[in-house]
């Protein structure tokens, strides 16, 4: 068993480690056999002591699948709760990591493709599970974004009434919006708080996800709130965003009042980092005041 090149030995061992099923299945798999036939592979490992070569490589195999399923369970507690541990672990071990093996220095990136994987899967609940996973991925992603200074009440108070139509906002990095086809937010709430799991409804659901002082929150928005907030987060001028909202929804006096409260709520939640005042001339890009930070 001399002179197996390093790259051959490593490609063989990796193929055996990554192959689901038993160690025997893995040794006989096409992926492993492409580098070393099963008997030669086993001879590559010293046969000594209380463990056989297959048992020795089996330790690495077990650890690999345990790490992958544990890592995914941390990022996707909702999907795991829905599928149950056994079904979740099998899905990760047998299919997901085979299709999307980690190529990052960190396990924190392992779950990036899980929503897309679920949506393309043959699972009967795939659309709903993919929606749930999208929410969970947005929550995970919010944890790593940079902390930013927040827009202050004083800065907002300094805006002249006639200037409001032309202000734009700089969102914090840790804010995102999702529109999903299922009410998965209530389900995830219940999983996290360990409450009785509600039925997931098939209905269009708008969700705001944001992090504040390192803690991530998510909540459902009405279609009107969602429309206005998404326009503001995209950098549209406040006046233009209100006009676009009025085009899509009738705005009466009570809704004007609502908008005032929504906006105050969003500022209070720390969704914005800065504000820009622009001149009200035709040239919308003519910025004359810098943001707060």
């Amino acid at each position: 068993m001399k002179n197996v090149p390093l790259s051959t030995l490593q490609q063989w061992m990796q193929a055996v480690i990554e192959h689901p099923g038993s160690t025997g299945d893995a040794l006989r798999s096409d992926e492993a056999s492409a580098h070393l036939p099963p008997d030669e592979g086993l001879k590559a490992i010293v046969n000594t002591g209380a463990l056989t070569p297959a048992e020795r490589i089996g330790i690495y195999r077990k650890m690999f699948f345990l790490r992958m399923t544990e890592s995914m369970a941390i990022d996707y507690p909702g999907v795991k709760a829905f599928l149950g541990e056994e079904r979740f672990d099998r899905l990760i071990a047998d299919e997901y990591v085979k299709q999307y093996p980690s190529s990052s220095y960190t396990l924190n990136h392992l779950g990036r493709y899980f929503p897309a994987f679920l949506r393309a899967s043959a699972l009967p609940e795939r659309e709903m599970l993919a929606d749930l996973a999208e929410l969970e991925l947005a929550v995970t992603n919010s944890l790593d974004t940079a902390e930013m200074p927040l827009l202050t009440a004083e800065r907002i108070a300094a805006i002249q009434p006639e200037g409001w139509g032309d202000v734009t906002f700089v969102p914090i990095q840790a804010v995102s919006l999702l529109t999903l086809g299922h009410s998965v937010n209530e389900y995830l709430d219940a999983v996290i708080t360990d409450d009785a799991l509600p039925m997931i409804q098939h209905r269009s659901t708008h969700i705001l996800i944001y992090r504040r002082t390192f803690r991530t929150y998510w909540e459902e928005l009405t279609p009107q709130q969602y429309r206005l907030l998404s326009l503001l987060l995209s950098g549209m001028r406040f006046g233009d965003a209100l006009a676009a909202l009025a085009d899509a929804f009738p705005i009466d006096a009570s809704m004007q009042n609502d908008i005032f409260h929504w906006f105050g709520d969003w500022v209070g939640k720390g969704l914005f980092s800065g504000i820009h005042e622009h001149s009200s001339a035709n040239n919308h890009d003519d910025e004359h005041t810098a943001s707060t930070h």
Binding site: N3, Q14, V46, A50, L51, Y105
Partner: protein
């Protein structure tokens, strides 16, 4: 006492920084000599882990310990990863960086485990080249840790210690001697752990690791989930007599107890530094902090350092 080749100062008795202890450390500022942090957890995060790291770095010396360098892989050096690592090392002023003499994947995969390498002339040439590239890029010493292994390759033409010693001679890297890993591998493969220690030039040992493991009868698993056993403490003492003052760090990665328990375990090392018989300070009892879901990304990278005792 033998000075180490790079004159890295003896920082004393450190503890691995783990997310379950963040709140305790920020609130109580425990008198720990230094912290070792798992580099991968902090490379790109701008969230809470980065905030905590910056606060800790203001108060304590920090050394970066990586798990994804994969210096033993037949893949080339990943300079994208090194660029992030260098920026982090500069940010926390890590005097040197450490990782493991192992591979973690090939063909750009990462299986997130510390896999054994065949101790051959081919491996030695290849890894020597990679280590030189890493040190040149990082502009600071690279210190490689011996890992716990569960398999050895028939193609090996030398022992692990001979390989490690020759690698250090050829590439000018240093050694992070994990005494628990020597003990675990010695049990798993039937060699004398003292022979391993005897064959390493003490001037090249820059740091020690201590940790607990799990005895499965047929083999030992490097689980980092318990106190250090007496035999490993004695091995530390044996090694320490040859090197004298070296950074010593306790790792605890599974079933992690309150911070003070981990800290006290690290301070036990004082009793085994025969030249420096200093009594450890008294226990500082503090309530533990309950984990809060989704407050911070759980530090999965830390677990790459160890095996699960569920195996």
């Amino acid at each position: 006492m033998t000075p180490n080749k790079w004159n890295i100062p003896d920082l004393g008795f450190g503890v691995g920084l783990r997310s379950v202890h963040y709140d305790h450390i920020l609130e109580h500022r425990p008198p720990v000599d230094w912290f070792e942090v798992i580099s991968e957890t902090y490379l790109e995060s701008g969230g809470r882990v980065r905030y905590v790291l910056d606060r800790v770095a203001e108060q304590y010396p920090i050394v970066l310990h990586g798990v994804s360098l994969s210096v033993g892989s037949s893949d080339p050096v990943n300079f994208g990863y090194l660029k992030l690592l260098k920026a982090l090392a500069d940010r926390v002023r890590s005097p040197y960086i450490s990782d493991h003499l192992c591979w973690t994947g090939v063909n750009a995969h990462n299986v997130h485990d510390l896999l054994p390498i065949p101790y051959t002339e081919e491996s030695l040439r290849h890894i020597t080249q990679k280590v030189k590239q890493v040190m040149e890029f990082m502009e600071r010493p690279l210190v490689l840790e011996n890992v716990s292994t569960y398999a050895q390759f028939s193609s090996s033409s030398m022992s692990e210690w001979e390989f490690h010693a020759r690698l250090m001679e050829d590439s000018q890297c240093g050694m992070l001697m994990d005494v628990n890993n020597i003990y675990v591998s010695a049990y798993n493969h039937g060699f004398d752990p003292k022979e391993f220690i005897d064959r390493i030039d003490p001037a090249l040992v820059c740091q020690y690791h201590l940790a607990g493991h799990t005895n499965k009868g047929t083999h030992l698993l490097d689980t980092h989930n318990d106190h250090v056993i007496d035999e490993v403490w004695e091995l530390y003492q044996y090694a320490y007599q040859r090197t004298g003052g070296r950074n010593t760090l306790l790792e605890w990665d599974e079933d992690i107890p309150d911070f003070d328990v981990v800290h006290q375990e690290a301070l036990k090392a004082r009793e085994y530094r025969t030249a420096e018989q200093v009594a450890p300070s008294g226990p500082r009892v503090r309530p533990s902090t309950p984990p809060v879901m989704r407050l911070t990304p759980l530090e999965k990278n830390e677990r790459v350092n160890s095996m699960s005792h569920d195996l």
